[in-house]
Structures are given as structure tokens and as C-alpha cells.
Amino acid sequence: MTKTISLIFFLLRPRLLGFHNRLQRLPGTRWRVALFALLGSAFWGGIFYGFYRILSYFSGIPGFGEVLSQKILSMILLTFFTLLIYSHLITALANFFLSKDLALIHESPVSRLILFSARYLESLFDASWMVILLSLPIFFCYGIIFKAPLGYYLLLPFVFLPFVFLAGSLGILITLLLTAFFPIRRTRDLLVILSLLLVTLLFLIFRLMRPEQLVNPEQLSSLVEYLNSLSAQESSFLPSSWVKEIFWALLKGDLLQAFLPLGLIWSSAVLLFIGNLLLGQRFFFHSYSRSQEGSYKGLHINPRFDVWLGRLLPLSPDLRGLVLKDLKAFYRDKTQWSQLFILLVLIIVYVYNFSVLPLHKSPLPTLYLKNIISFLNLGLAGFVLSSVAVRFVFPAISAEGQAFWMIRSSPLPLKAFLRYKFIFYFIPLVILAEVLIVFTNRQLGVSGAMHWISSLTMFSLTFGLVGLAVGLGALYPRQGSENLGQMATGFGGFLYMLCSLALIGITIVLEAGPVYRMLMADLHSTPLGLGGRWWMIGSLGGVVLMHIASGIWAMRKGRRSLEEI
């Protein structure tokens, strides 16, 4: 038994050693880890502060404060439980069947069940550490607000461990069953799309419920009724309900009451683990073997579409080839285009938010307020745009991957290549940006000068943001990364977000003065005057120049860096 356990941990060695080597040898890694840790702590603190305020508010409501707090805990645990199952589904697929080092271990005499157990452990860690870390401040808040005894904090790990283990095992169980009967790569695509759709749908439903109304005291009685009506979350068959019972009992210092549900969750977790081991023994190797066969089945390609698309593009053969390649790579990768759903919903919610703004409740004049919001909307829309750019544009150079040598060895100059990448992404992004501005202005009822100022600023800001994304993406390429989404989460992506936020911030600062003066003149029905006009032209011109210069500067830096590779 000891040998088996030590062998399981031995299989995790390359990962630990790899992390250690990165820290020791790769320049800047420690600095990056420290930066991420700092940001993570700030985020953690933010969650703690935010949730503490929310829970203090709800728990302090006379009469039903405690019931409400319990209901909220139930909802949180159910959400975590679902999240954990989903994240394990995706992680287990990669760890059990798609990792590149699996062949190396499978060809060794290490028993398949030991390999299966090691991957089980790895999946549990990968899929749950973030959920655990983010949920801790919530449980600390409960402890502090309800003045829990020390035992509550000490026993937290003994409740969390089986909870995560059970949810993770459920996710792994579903993965094992799905992969036993369906092709693995298609299962992965399907799961990614389904989870994206689910998250998007939940987000949309949540937003359309207008949760901001819940903090209105007049609505509180209906809130409690609503929460009470959600009887499903209290079903005694749900492990999240058992955990809620345990937490509540521990909060009150009632160990005896926690005993039964604690036994229930531990025994369920162990039983499910044993069940998964049996399933693993039966299916693991065969599913892994089938995962290597996926690439033999070709896609059904319609060549007429290529011909039609090729004719449609009035470009030189090299550029037409690049456009066709990028378009095909995008629509053939389901995990890529499915993220557009999220984008679409974000836009709908974004525009919807402007239609439900309680402008009438403000003591300020509505016309003034609308124009101010329209101006500040530049910052918000800019932020949305930079988030989209960091996800889709920033990885544009890295996405060339191992095939980048083909571009480098072709007669196509790097300058033309980067310019092409810029145009390829600028067109859809500028359309998105203008849609955001035009629709929100329409919702607000803003027209005239303010409308044109925000449209023009957004146009040139998009130029700057896309240029920055292409340039910094070239400066910090991650060509070894298999997942395009992960590319944006590295240091380069972080730097891009900082630069783009600075660009947006400076834009707003530069334009705020003349816009304010113009609005004041409008409000008082006085002419803007020559000074005001020149100020406006100067600041707008300066902003446009700054956007163009920053975009071109970043692309130049990126090109030079690529030339040196």
C-alpha cells in the first residue's frame, strides 16, 4: 500500500520538478509569480470585503436574517458543487486522455490503475484549487459574522475535502462514461460548448432578473418568498445540502448535529472513488487507446466553399492564403467560435444595462447625466474591447505556433504579416466597438456632438487597442501553448491589459475637459466659443494621434522582437 501511494506521488514528480525549474532558471518567473500572488491576494481581499458587507446586511435583517443567510449558503454551495463537477469534466478529459506524457507512462510497467489514481489526484487539484481558494473568504465571513467557535475553522478542511472529492469524482465519473462510448476529442468539444452555453445562459438569466432590486428593502419579503420557493436546493439528496447542514451545525458549535451529514458525505465520496477505480480499470486504457485514433477520421471539407471564399477576397495570393487559413482555423475549432456566444450575451447585457439605468432618480439634470454617462461609456466599452482583444487578438501571433517558420521563411515581409493580422482583427473589432457605442447612445437618447465625439474616439481607440494587442502578442509569443485561451493569461496578456487600461484612462482624461465645457454650454444654452472649439479639436486630435502612435509603436516593437528570434 505504501509503495502504491509513493508511486502515485512519484508520477506527479515531473510537474513539481518542472515548476521548481521554472522558478529557478527562467528569468522573470519569480517576479511573475509574486505579481500574480499579489493580484490574487487583492482579489481574495476584495471577495472577503464584498461578501462581508453583503452577508452583514442580510444577516442583520430583523426576523429573517438567519434564514436568509442559510439560504444564501445553500445557493453558494450548490453553485460551487455544479462548478466543481463541470471543471472536473474538462480537466479530467485532458489529464486522463489528452496529455502528451501519457504515452511515456503507458509504455512503462507502471500499473494502469496507479496511473489512473495519479491522474485522479492531479485532476482534483487542477479543477478545484481555485474554487477552494475563492470560497474560503466566504466561509471565513460566515464564521466571523455568526461568531463561530474555533472548531468551525479547524474542521473546515474536513468538510471541504470530501465535498470537493465527491463533486470531482462525479465529474470524473461522467467523463469516464462519456469517453467510454463517444470519441474523446468530440466529447471535449461538446463539453466546452455546453459549459460555455450554460455559463452564458446563467449569466443572462441572472442579469435579466435585475438582482439590483433585491437590495431594495421594499422587495425583501418577495426575496425571501423567492428563496423559499427554491426547494430543490434543499433536497436531502444533494450533497450541497449535507454540507450546508454541516457548516451550520459547526457554526453553532453543535458537533453532534454535524456528525450524520459528515459521515454521509465522507462515505459517499469514498464509495464513488471506489466506483471510479472499478470503472477506470474497465475503461481507462481502452478510452486512452481510442483517443489516439481520433486524428485518423478526417473532417468533411467542402472545397467549393474555399473556392467561393477565395474568389470573394480581392487580395494578393499570399494575403488571400493567410485570410483563408485564419478563417478556417477559427471556424473549424469549435472551442474558439463557441466563445462568440459569450461575447454576444455580454453585448446584449451591456446594452440592456443602459436601458434600465434609474436616471430619473438622480438629482442631476437628465440631459447632463445622459451625456456624462455616454462619455464615461467610452471607458467601459474600451474595457470590453480590450478584454475581447486580449482573448482573440493577443494570441494571433502565438496561434501560428510551430508553423510560424513557414511565414518567416516565405517572401512575405514580417511588416506585411503584422499589418495583415492588424487589419484582420481591426475590422470585426471596430464594428463591435461602434455597435456598443451606437446602441448605448440610442438607449440613452444621446445624439449630436456627443454622439460623434464618442464614435470617433472609439474608432481611433480600437486602432490603438488592436495595434497594442498584435504588437505585444508578437513581443511575448507563447508558441508552445496548445490552448489559445491560456495564451492571454500569461505575463504578456497581463501587460497588454495594463497598457490598454492606461490608454483608455489617458483618453478619458484628455477629453474630459473640453467635453465638460461643451456640456455646460449645452446645459446653459450658451455658445461654446472659439477657445472651447479649439480645445475640443486639439484634445480630440491629440487623442487620435496618441491612439495611432501607440498602435504603430507596439507593432514596431513586436516586429523587431520577431525579427530577432
Binding site: P14, G18, P109
Partner: protein, 247 residues
């Protein structure tokens, strides 16, 4: 030593290996030849225990790879055509890890690792991350890792890819030495000169089926071999002799 019994592998509608039967004697170097897509790598992956056959079985040292995979693999060394190496590990860390998979402790094998790394000119690189190695250096490292546990059967898929002339020479010498010590070598290659030089027996596979098998001496009796060597015979057997459009 190696017994392939009615091995068949289907990939959906495609039959990659069709009812393959083969025996390789102890201490023999067996060259497994065939055009691209003939089923060589599929056969080798099944032998190495990383792919399940549709039907049939492979016995290594009398142990079924399906029924007793761990025991069979403990006696086998496998060198894949496109090996995976952990980029963020150093050469020596990688070798220690692979040795650990075969139940060996670093102390037991450090002497051997040193001599093998010296033989392959990798000793000075042992503390460097594998990501800084060239393709040939990675290939040398994977060859060392497959030999650390002194396998009785060596299964090799394209051993010479990426190796420089010195590396090729070392590998050829090493395989002959291992074979002389009783290790059975099952070698798939496109380098026909290498096959001709070091193999005792040859098998030629095409479209998943074995179309010719025999000792190197029996192949050498064929007219095509006598006239132009193994390459000409191989092209004749696989029906690729007419090279339309080559001019």
C-alpha cells in the same frame, strides 16, 4: 521472444493492421520495413502497450501485453518515432524519472547514466533543461532512457531520425552489442542501408499485411537485391518501382 499473434487494428472503416503474425527469436535484430501508412507505427504502438488491438495479441518474453502488461513492459524498452520529453526537466532529472517508472533508484543507475551520457556526448548537458536540446540530442536522451533498465526486448520506431553521423554510428554499434548480449531488437526504419547493415531478419508490411519475411541472406538471393540492393527489392515488393513523374 516476440510473438505477434493474428494482430488486427481498425481505425473506424480503415484497417491499419490485418491479421499480422510474426515470430522474432531471442538476440535477433528484426527490421520492420514498409512504405508510409503501411501500419508499422500502429503495430509498434500495440507492442509497446500504448494502443489496444482490435483483435489478436502480442507476447513479449512469453508475457501477453494484453493480459500482463506491467510484467511484459518491465522487460521491454521502447523508443518512439516522436518521443515526448518533459521540456522543463533537465536531462538527468528525466532519466531519473524514467528509471523510477521501472522501479530503479537513482543510486543504482547513476554510474550507468554517466557512462551512457558520456557515450552520447550529453554529459555536459545533463543539468540543462530539455527544452534547450536539439532534436538529435533529444533522440539520444530517449535512447539512453530506454536502455537504463536493461530490457530483454527493444522496440524501436525510426531510431536514426535527427541523429548526426556519429550518433547513427553509436546507435548501430549499440544495437549490435545489445543483440550479441541476447537482447531482441524490433526495429522499424525507412533507412534501408541501416536495415541492410544491422538486421538479421526483415519483414515488409504493406497496407497492414506482411508481404515478405525472411532472413537477410534469403532476401539477398533475390535478383533485384543482387542487381541494386535492398532499396530496389523493397520498391519491387511494395509495387512502387515505377516512379511516374519523377523526371
Amino acid at each position: 521472444m516476440i510473438k505477434i499473434k493474428n494482430l488486427t487494428k481498425h481505425y473506424g472503416p480503415l484497417t491499419a493492421v490485418k491479421d499480422l503474425c510474426l515470430d522474432v527469436a531471442p538476440g535477433e535484430i528484426f527490421g520492420f520495413l514498409g512504405p508510409n501508412g503501411a501500419g508499422k507505427t500502429t503495430t509498434i504502438k500495440i507492442m509497446a502497450g500504448i494502443l489496444a488491438p482490435t483483435t489478436g495479441d502480442v507476447e513479449l518474453c512469453g508475457l501477453s501485453i494484453l493480459k500482463e502488461p506491467s510484467r511484459a513492459k518491465a522487460l521491454t524498452g521502447y523508443i518512439p518515432d516522436r518521443p515526448f520529453l518533459y521540456d522543463k526537466l533537465t536531462g538527468i532529472e528525466f532519466l531519473h524519472f524514467v528509471a523510477g517508472l521501472y522501479g530503479l533508484h537513482p543510486k543504482e543507475i547513476d554510474g550507468e547514466i554517466e557512462s551512457r551520457l558520456n557515450l552520447f556526448d550529453l554529459w555536459d548537458w545533463r543539468m540543462e533543461l530539455i527544452e534547450s536540446y536539439s532534436h538529435g540530442m533529444k533522440q539520444r536522451l530517449i535512447i539512453i532512457s530506454a536502455l537504463l533498465h536493461h530490457p530483454r526486448v527493444l522496440i524501436i520506431d525510426e531510431p536514426m531520425v535527427g541523429l548526426d553521423p556519429k550518433g547513427v554510428r553509436i546507435v548501430k554499434h549499440l544495437l549490435k552489442k545489445e543483440s550479441a548480449q541476447g537482447t531482441t531488437v524490433f526495429l522499424s526504419t525507412h533507412t534501408l542501408a541501416t536495415a541492410q547493415e544491422i538486421c538479421d531478419h526483415l519483414g515488409i508490411i504493406q497496407k497492414g499485411a506482411l508481404i515478405a519475411v525472411g532472413s537477410i541472406d534469403s532476401f539477398a538471393q533475390e535478383d533485384h537485391w543482387k542487381a541494386q540492393g535492398l532499396e530496389s527489392l523493397f520498391l519491387k515488393l511494395t509495387g512502387d518501382l515505377e516512379e511516374d513523374g519523377l523526371d
